[in-house]
């Protein structure tokens, strides 16, 4: 049991090191938002026009914004996790296509079939925040589900690593006193903060 726990502790942590590193850096960025984004309120992210074109096909009669978005993304070879923005004009559909590095905003104007594709200007802080917040099960894409499974695996690791660490600590008799003090100090401080915050 002990050996198995040690091996799981080690290999799980090694496999998930990129995820843990990403969540660590992004947490630091969000904890120091003013340092990375300037004083609040934060400005909206900047976009630059990537290309403009006339939509070559036909949208079905009476298509909903979601149907338009799906057809548009498929035609532009940009199919993937997206959301349809609240329409600010009845003849416009704005699609936000998620992407870790280069999210895009695609605006389709129905009367003239004009499509404007804008790419978000890259910012390191924005990238880490997007990755931190990215989930997956709500989208209908296998890749997003796979990402969500890795997020759940990271959650499992966050629960297993400290618990298996406690098990391993308890096996080392020489570390019991200092370990118990560390554990007790941590829980005491956490308890105080839980009460006052």
């Amino acid at each position: 049991m002990s050996l198995l726990l040690r091996r799981i502790h080690l290999y799980l942590a090694l496999f998930l090191a990129p995820w843990i590193l990403m969540y660590t850096v992004s947490t630091f960025v969000m904890n120091h938002r003013s340092l990375f984004h300037g004083p609040p309120p934060n400005p909206p992210p900047k976009f630059e026009v990537e290309r403009e074109l006339l939509y070559p096909g036909e949208m079905p009669e009476g298509a909903t914004p979601q149907q338009v978005a799906l057809q548009l993304l498929a035609t532009l070879d940009l199919d993937g996790a997206h959301s349809v923005a609240r329409p600010f004009a009845p003849d416009k559909v704005v699609v936000n296509r998620q992407h870790p590095i280069a999210p895009r905003r695609i605006t389709y104007t129905a009367p003239d079939k004009k499509v404007v594709i804008e790419k978000m200007v890259f910012s390191g802080a924005g990238f880490f925040e997007r990755m931190h917040r990215r989930r997956g099960f709500q989208h209908d894409y296998a890749l997003d589900d796979s990402w969500a499974v890795t997020v759940d695996l990271t959650i499992f690791a966050l629960l297993l690593l400290p618990l298996s660490g406690i098990w391993m600590w308890w096996e080392l008799r020489v570390t019991r006193l200092l370990g118990a003090l560390s554990l007790a100090a941590g829980f005491a401080l956490f308890g105080i903060l839980l009460a006052v915050l």
């Binding site: 080690l10 003013s34 609040p40 709500q138 890795t150 966050l158 660490g165 080392l172 200092l178």
Partner: protein, 201 residues
């Protein structure tokens, strides 16, 4: 005392001290990752999420179009004697300012209607998943009181600890030659999958 010994002990004691935070981040990530499930479960209860506790005239004076809104939120928080809570102020629309007041145990939102000079206060029903996600999302150094700053410093310590655990873990793994092959497979498997997600997600 040699470096490998210090390395192992630091890895261990830092881990034990920060155990509550790591468990909290692990548990609180579940409602974030499965938000739809928790929303459906709560909706089935048929209980209102917000309860109105105040609705009346209130004058916050002129609201700036740009710039920080926190001082305005501070006035509402003081008037309602909620100075012990953390808060943030956001413009919800051209005619609405929202102020969110939050402790780990209780949340209140204020809606200030600028033209009408009217304020509505609503308390949020306690939900365990909100309790957890509220802790998860808490951070930053904007609130200058002692305990919120201490919480933010501890978040930085957790970040530092994760970096230390990765570095010290890799060092310990490398010190055990018998585990190198499987370790390489785990590291390269992780890096490869993560890179694939970065490119394709």
């Amino acid at each position: 005392m040699k470096f490998p010994h210090v390395n192992r002990r630091t890895h261990l004691y830092l881990g034990l001290f920060l155990t509550p935070w790591i468990l909290m981040y692990g548990l609180s990530s579940i409602p974030f990752s499965h938000a739809d499930f928790f929303e459906r479960r709560d909706k089935a209860l048929g209980l209102p999420l917000w309860t109105k506790t105040f609705d009346g005239p209130f004058d916050l004076g002129p609201i700036p179009e740009t710039g920080p809104l926190r001082p305005l939120g501070g006035r509402v928080v003081r008037d309602f004697k909620m100075e012990d809570s953390s808060y943030g102020a956001f413009r919800q629309g051209p005619n609405q300012l929202n102020i969110y007041v939050h402790t780990f145990w209780k949340s209140t939102q204020f809606k200030y209607f600028i033209e009408e000079k009217r304020l509505v206060a609503e308390d949020r029903r306690f939900r365990w998943e909100h309790f957890l996600t509220g802790m998860h999302a808490r951070g930053g150094f904007e609130d200058q009181r002692f305990f919120p700053i201490l919480w933010a410093v501890l978040i930085d310590l957790v970040c530092l600890a994760f970096l230390a655990w990765i570095a010290s873990g890799i060092y310990m793994w490398w010190s055990l030659p018998g585990l190198r092959n499987w370790g390489w497979i785990a590291i390269l498997g992780g890096l490869g999958s993560f890179a694939l997600f970065l490119a394709r997600l």
